[in-house]
């Protein structure tokens, strides 16, 4: 490949160093106890050893769990509203997985649809995504059922493939091509490198065992939407903790609230979840008071409602909702066992 490059593993620290001159670089990190994409400390590249995927999805880097929208202040002549200062920093995320990169492409559709969401979109525009193909996926992963390859991505700017002693680097977007051309310390590739990378991707693909049957999925969900028995059975063990939604790379529901002290305060938004009855509660009634309705909503939203509206599935098969669920709820089982009718 003409514009692909390679780099030795021991040079990754130096590469991140070089990129840190232009970008604020973030990498997979366990610094806060729970794996997330956090600012690089300038030396530690041990994530290359332990990293399979993060617990906190990279959506948090663009759509944080808590976000100030604006401040307000009551002055003599009335209320004054103040937006947070604009962030001129350019960001680079190193190591994002193909499933999580697809999730950002999906989130772009949410935050661009009809009305532009300035907070999310400004961060997206300021960030370069450097993908890292999976070599050791979890058994909860099912990305290949969603048309995503664990080793490939069209949703990043640059793609890295672990070839053992080094990385095979492919530009994906124009932004990535520009960055790679301007990056020093990377070597031209030989045919053998490309062949090796291809083998690694194939091997990763074969390691994804779990499947979800997505054939006619919208019609199949519509057919059993009113099947209360099925949804009650599926929801029985769910404890409505919301973990599957908070840690889902595509879940984007949020709440908006105010904080006040004296005559000034902050309007902020925070992650919310369709797992909670209060999410839809109104003074007189609640359309999704029962747990089975909430579980049904989550599944149907991801595989039926969202793709109907914006032509992209709101699930990337990252498997976090299976791997990190306290009661082993499994969306693939729910989807694979849909009854044929109500």
């Amino acid at each position: 490949m003409a514009d692909s490059k390679r780099i030795n593993k021991e040079d990754i620290g130096r590469l991140l160093d070089e990129w840190s001159k232009e970008f604020s670089v973030s990498v997979p990190s366990r610094e806060n106890g729970m794996p997330a994409v956090l600012p690089w400390d300038g030396k530690d590249t041990s994530f290359l050893e332990w990293y399979r995927n993060t617990v906190i999805p990279p959506k948090a880097n663009f759509f944080p769990p808590y976000e100030k929208m604006f401040d307000f202040q009551k002055e003599a002549e009335g209320y004054h509203l103040e937006l947070p200062p604009s962030d001129k920093q350019k960001y680079l995320i190193f190591g994002i997985r193909p499933c999580d990169a697809r999730a950002l492409t999906m989130l772009d559709t949410v935050f661009q649809d009809t009305y532009q969401d300035p907070y999310y979109l400004s961060r997206r525009a300021n960030t370069v995504l450097v993908g890292l193909g999976c070599t050791n996926p979890y058994d909860s992963c099912f990305c290949t059922s969603l048309g995503i390859g664990p080793g490939e991505s069209t949703d990043v700017d640059l793609m890295f493939t672990d070839t053992g002693d080094g990385f095979f680097i492919e530009p994906v977007s124009d932004k990535g091509r520009e960055l790679l051309a301007a990056t020093g310390g990377v070597e031209d590739t030989l045919e053998a490198d490309e062949a090796r990378a291809k083998d690694v991707k194939k091997a990763a693909y074969r390691k994804i065992i779990r499947r979800v049957d997505t054939g006619d999925i919208q019609q199949r969900l519509a057919a059993c939407f009113e099947n209360q028995d099925y949804w009650e059975k599926v929801a029985a063990k769910c404890v409505s903790c919301g973990i599957c939604t908070f840690l889902c790379p595509t879940c984007y529901c949020f709440d908006i609230n105010d904080e006040l002290s004296q005559d000034e305060g902050t309007r902020f938004r925070s992650w919310d979840s369709c797992s909670f009855p209060i999410y839809t509660r109104m003074p007189m009634e609640n359309p999704r008071q029962e747990k089975w309705r909430r579980v049904r909503q989550k599944v149907c939203h991801k595989y039926w409602f969202y793709p109907t509206n914006l032509d992209i599935t709101a699930c990337t098969g990252c498997g976090r909702c299976i791997r990190l669920c306290p009661v082993n709820w499994d969306i693939t089982q729910t989807l694979n066992n849909l009854p044929a009718s109500s």
């Binding site: 009551k74 509203l81 604009s86 532009q116 969401d117 939407f225 949020f254 999410y279 359309p287 039926w304």
Partner: protein
Amino acid sequence: MTTDVSQRFLARDNVYLPHIAVIEKIIDETPGVVTLHFNFKDEKLREEFTFKPGQFGEYSVFGIGEATFCISSSPTRRDHLEFAVQRVGKVTNALHRLDVGAEMGFRGPYGNGFPLDSFTGKNLVFVAGGIGLAPLRSLIWNVIDDRDKYEKIDIVYGARSPADLCFKYDLDAWGNDSSINMVTTVDKGDASWTGREGFVPQVLEQAAPSARNAVAIVCGPPIMIRFTFPVLEKLGFTPEQMFTTLEKRMKCGIGKCGRCNIGNLYVCRDGPVFSFAQIKGFISSEY
């Protein structure tokens, strides 16, 4: 790479940033409901602001939060804007505590509004319960101000008790308008009530407006809406001739925060006005 994108996105037309509005008048409707008249502080906006009947806004009491209400005044009467608030929660209580001259925030107008153009030349049947008259009253006044464009007007309006009837000044005005057939009912009257008693769907059935060349526009508590559609079907209205404006818990108002969906439709972005044809598949199960 040199464009300051974050500045561009944040500063220009940040959809979450409310306009400052000033309360100009407060009308007590019922023991729990007030109508607030307001105007924007910014003069340019005051002149440029337009909306359609049925559209809504997100209203802020800074420090307490935002809540969703339709604009209850008519776009044909531009002197000020109105909305009606039932005291039920944190924000609505705070709105009830505002005095004339107080400032609040407003984002909007959001939502689709009523398909007014498609109502031209039709008989209009309005069916409302309680504070559900608020969005319809915007439409009704709009229609009255353009009276020649429409044929017969029937209004069936009810509340739980005489004290719960909202917009009594409108009910009087419409009752005195010979071009309108106005039927007011209460579930249960009191000692001084001499009018009709009965639930809205039943009273509608008795009034029996013709479905010929007509559309019905329904708004009220979900239970009233659920029982009204079958009555309209019995009267010969097709699902395409029946419209309602729905209420759901909302936060963003612009189709992003997630909670107000009925199936793939968002009440805030695709509604709040729907034909019964659009939502009948979901209405039994999610509404």
